[in-house]
Symmetry: C2
Amino acid sequence: MVTKIEIRVGLKTGMADPEGANVQKALHLLGFDNIDKVESAKCYRIIIDKEKEAALEIAEKMCQQLLANPVVHKYTISVAD
Amino acid sequence: MVTKIEIRVGLKTGMADPEGANVQKALHLLGFDNIDKVESAKCYRIIIDKEKEAALEIAEKMCQQLLANPVVHKYTISVAD
């Protein structure tokens, strides 16, 4: 039994997001005028050899130990389709 | 009326994903042994000043014109909560 986990590592509110700001600028230059905000984030899709509950616990540990920096990042973990 | 759109830009199947491979290696070194695969992707959360349907169409154009390279990327667009 394997579980496909989706982890989304984004920046905490208030952290500078130059990539998002640059994407917003570029979209504006391309003529997209209805954009209020762009936030960038990093996603990981991880296939874990465990049942759903165990996989979610492992993913939480992965975020704490490697994928996210608690000073600047917030993360969400979900089961992918 | 604003709509929050989530765009996920990942690599097409078969494309090299060194970031994903390195994350997998690092997780393995940290003792996570149940991982079959790690895929990395870039996500953008964009707030668009339009109703849902119009916002989804705009997001599709954004991907075609800027956010994704059709040679190497596949993307999914969804409405974020």
